[in-house]
């Protein structure tokens, strides 16, 4: 992967700059020369800002926006900072937007802000495009694709400051070396794998195992117990059923025996007949009482009626006699005898007339003598008459009433007779039967029936118990099944645990192996690069990176020489180490080196320049150099590898800001 073009817009001193690079296939070096403070490191930062949003070694409080642009902005206006890096197959664009406030302050607009969004509908500062034969195609996750090409963590091994290289081998060299090797080994991936496996193991598998109980055995035992109990009950049930069957058989036998004995009997048995007979007899007794009652009623009726019937004709005659009297006008009388007697005694009528006159008194006396006793009993006769009429009517009803009572008696007698007949028939049926035996059989049968009933009750209870046990077994089986599932889950979880543990160990082993391998590769490459860079080739024989990541350089005599290396030798060693890391990393990213030659003396600078193109061949190198380090000797030695040379033209405008241009040399 190599950079074809870098476009900077309003990025710090670079207002509108475009730098093109060639394919590294032929000449892989690109030189950008600038004085100190002209914007070399800023250029490097523009690249890291575009890729990773970071600007190493820069005061980030300073606004990205070019100061001149910032000054030019009017309140409410929006300006854009944009860095575009076009690789051979990828284009990355990062932009930031700024707005000048009413009071002159300029603020960066966050991408989630509505103002930012309103400009082009986008909510992200970063974009990536894949270069395809049909044109550029936007990539959805630009961060991801950048990390795949130039991982953030490894960036410092591709874009670095030469003057800081020697820091690797200073006091805490071991720590830095180890970190570099770990970074380049992408060990963090293994660490992440290990961390995740461990976390999964602890948080999910271990806790799951804790939750999964293993009381299936207990449940199985309980089920077994219940089944055994059920079997025992079933056995008991069977026993009782057999007993019941036996009893039924016996009852049947007794019934047969009774039937044989009572062959002529109607369906039923002696007991029934006897019961019936008893009932009939009781009923007969009751009927008999009723009959007697009716008879008594009839006798009483006869007794009461007899005098009246016997005197009926006489009664009738007297009644007629009274009627005759009535018809003759004697009843009721015109006046009472006592009234006549009173008038005769008083000799004066109630109207005051003198009865002595005109023979009135004699006439009254005659009337009195003629007056019979009827007048005195007329009231009695009047009262007697209806009684007689009633007597006669009652007498005439005699036949009817007597018939009614007699009818009742007859009905009762007929009914009684039927019952007596039935009793007689029953007696005739029972007659000749061995009553004692029947009684004994009946009693036996009764006992058996009681027994059967008791057994039936017990059977019911046992059946109920079996049903309960069935329910319980069913419930336990469900529980067991659930537990089994849980156990299966437990097994699976244990397998997961084993797998996780194995995976963890494997990841640790692989990590260790990879680290060892990377360390050895870095060691070999560093040694090779260092030997190539060193002009005193004969002086150093071996470069070693120990297991604990301490670096040592052995001289021809096998002695440790790291402590006696010159500053230039240390820079060469660091550059070798860096180049080794770069190579071992496997990433084909361009290398951008800022101020590589720095304070090196000419000899080492020339040596490095002579060998640099060799050991980083095929890789695009962009070197940011000052005029003092990019000497004619260096230029001469690199000339065959250099594709382009640029110069940064930096100007400061007082009170407004700075402006840098990158121009072809």
């Amino acid at each position: 992967m190599w950079i074809k073009k870098i476009k900077l817009k309003n990025y710090r001193p670079y207002r509108n700059v475009e730098v093109n690079f060639q394919s590294p296939e032929e000449n892989n070096f690109n030189i950008i020369q600038g004085t100190n403070g002209a914007g070399k490191t800023t250029f490097l930062n523009a690249i890291t800002w575009c890729l990773h949003g970071k600007e190493p070694s820069i005061d980030t409080n300073k606004l990205l926006l070019n100061n001149i642009k910032k000054t030019e902005l009017k309140p409410g206006e929006i300006a854009e900072v944009k860095v575009r890096i076009k690789f051979n197959n990828l284009e990355i664009v990062r932009k930031a937007r700024f707005k000048k406030g009413e009071e002159g302050g300029v603020m960066r607009i966050p991408p989630e802000n509505r103002i930012y969004r309103d400009l082009d509908g986008k909510t992200s500062e970063l974009k990536a495009f894949e270069t395809t034969p049909r044109g550029d195609k936007e990539i959805k996750n630009p961060e991801l694709i950048i990390d795949q090409k130039i991982p953030k963590d490894l960036r410092k091994y591709f874009f670095f400051d030469g003057e800081k290289l020697k820091e690797y081998f200073e006091e805490e060299d071991r720590k830095e070396i180890k970190k570099a090797i770990l970074d380049i080994s992408q060990i963090s991936l293994f660490d992440e794998i290990i961390r995740r496996i461990d976390k999964t193991k602890r948080s999910k598998i271990d806790s799951k195992l804790k939750k999964l109980s293993s009381d299936v055995e207990e449940i199985i035992n309980e089920i077994e117990e219940k089944i055994e109990e059920k079997e025992r009950k079933e056995e008991k049930l069977k026993e009782k059923e057999n007993k019941k069957k036996e009893i039924k058989k016996k009852i049947k036998e007794i019934n047969n025996e009774l039937k044989e004995s009572l062959d002529k009997l109607e369906p039923g048995d002696v007991d029934n007949l006897q019961t019936e007979r008893m009932k009939l007899e009781e009923e007969l007794n009751r009927k008999n009482d009723k009959l007697n009652e009716l008879k008594e009623q009839k006798n009483e009726f006869l007794c009461k009626k007899a005098p009246f019937i016997r005197l009926h004709n006489c009664t009738k005659k007297i009644k007629e006699k009274i009627n005759e009297k009535k018809e003759a006008g004697d009843l009721p009388p015109k006046y009472k005898e006592s009234f006549l007697r009173e008038l005769i005694e008083e000799k004066e009528c109630i109207c005051g007339a003198d009865l002595n006159k005109e023979n009135r008194l004699d006439n009254l006396k005659k009337k009195l003598s003629k007056k019979n006793k009827i007048s005195n009993i007329s009231e009695e006769l009047s009262a007697l008459k209806p009684e007689l009429r009633q007597i006669i009517e009652d007498n005439q009803e005699f036949i009817k009433k007597r018939k009614e009572i007699t009818g009742k008696i007859k009905d009762l007698k007929r009914n009684m007779s039927e019952k007596e007949d039935r009793i007689e028939r029953i007696e005739n049926k029972i007659k000749g039967i061995d009553q004692k035996q029947i009684k004994a059989l009946s009693k036996q049968r009764e006992k058996l029936q009681d027994k059967k009933s008791t057994i039936q009750k017990r059977i019911g209870r046992i059946e109920g118990g079996i049903e309960n046990l069935d329910d319980k077994i069913k419930e336990l089986k469900k529980k067991k099944s659930k537990e089994l599932k849980s156990q299966k889950k437990q097994r699976e979880t244990r397998n997961q645990l084993n797998f996780a543990e194995k995976a963890l160990n494997a990841a640790k082993e692989i990590k260790s192996e990879v680290m060892r391998e990377v360390r050895e590769k870095v060691e070999r490459n560093t040694e090779r690069q260092f030997m190539e860079l060193m002009w005193k080739e004969h002086a150093y024989k071996k470069v070693e990176i120990s297991k604990n990541y301490s670096i040592s350089v052995k001289n021809s005599r096998g002695e440790e020489a790291i402590g006696v290396l010159s500053a230039g030798e240390k820079q060469a060693l660091a550059l070798s180490f860096m180049a080794a890391l770069n190579k071992v990393s496997g990433f084909e990213a361009p290398v951008i080196i800022d101020t590589l030659f720095g304070r090196l003396d000419d000899e080492i600078r020339n040596s490095i320049a002579s060998n640099l193109s060799e050991y980083l061949s095929g890789r695009q190198i962009i070197m940011l150099v000052t005029g003092t380090e990019y000497t004619n000797n260096v230029r001469k030695r690199l000339s065959e590898a250099v594709a382009t040379e640029y110069k940064i033209d930096y100007k400061e405008f007082e009170g407004k800001g700075e402006k840098a241009k990158i121009i072809n040399m």
Binding site: L302, K305, A306, F308, R310, I318, L388, R402
Partner: protein, 140 residues
């Protein structure tokens, strides 16, 4: 003339009444005195068995225990015997006539009660009454 408040029997007949009323085999056992009196009266009348004037009278049934119909029957007998309605004017005579017939009839009653087989008494009575009733129904 003392007011009549009860009907009387002859003291000699008391035993008969008592036997008819008390004896176990009597079909009329437990009957009221007035029933027995009227039965005897009616039998006396039927068979025209009238005693002479009662010598040793013994009160037997209080008049207030008799129904109006019972009293009417006694009056009918008196009217029939005296052949005049006026007899009613003499209450003593009315009951004297009744007493005579009852005294005359008690012997028949006693005989009927005790001379027949058990059950025969009422059977005969029933036959008698049915016969009489049928007769007067026919003549009605």
């Amino acid at each position: 003339m003392s007011k009549i408040d009860r009907i009387s029997i002859q003291e000699e007949d008391w035993g008969k009444y008592e036997e008819i009323r008390e004896r176990e085999e009597s079909p009329l056992k437990g009957s009221q005195n007035k029933i027995l009196y009227l039965l005897a009266l009616s039998l006396g009348f039927k068979y025209d068995m009238k005693s002479d004037e009662l010598k040793n009278k013994k009160g037997f049934v209080r008049l207030d225990t008799l129904s109006e119909k019972d009293k009417a029957l006694i009056k009918v007998l008196a009217i029939e015997e005296s052949d005049t309605l006026e007899v009613l004017d003499d209450k003593a005579q009315v009951y004297e006539i009744a007493d005579k017939y009852a005294t005359g009839g008690v012997g028949l009653l006693y005989e009927g009660v005790f001379s027949n087989e058990p059950g025969e008494y009422f059977k005969k009575m029933e036959e008698e009454l049915v016969g009489l009733a049928e007769d007067f129904s026919e003549n009605n």
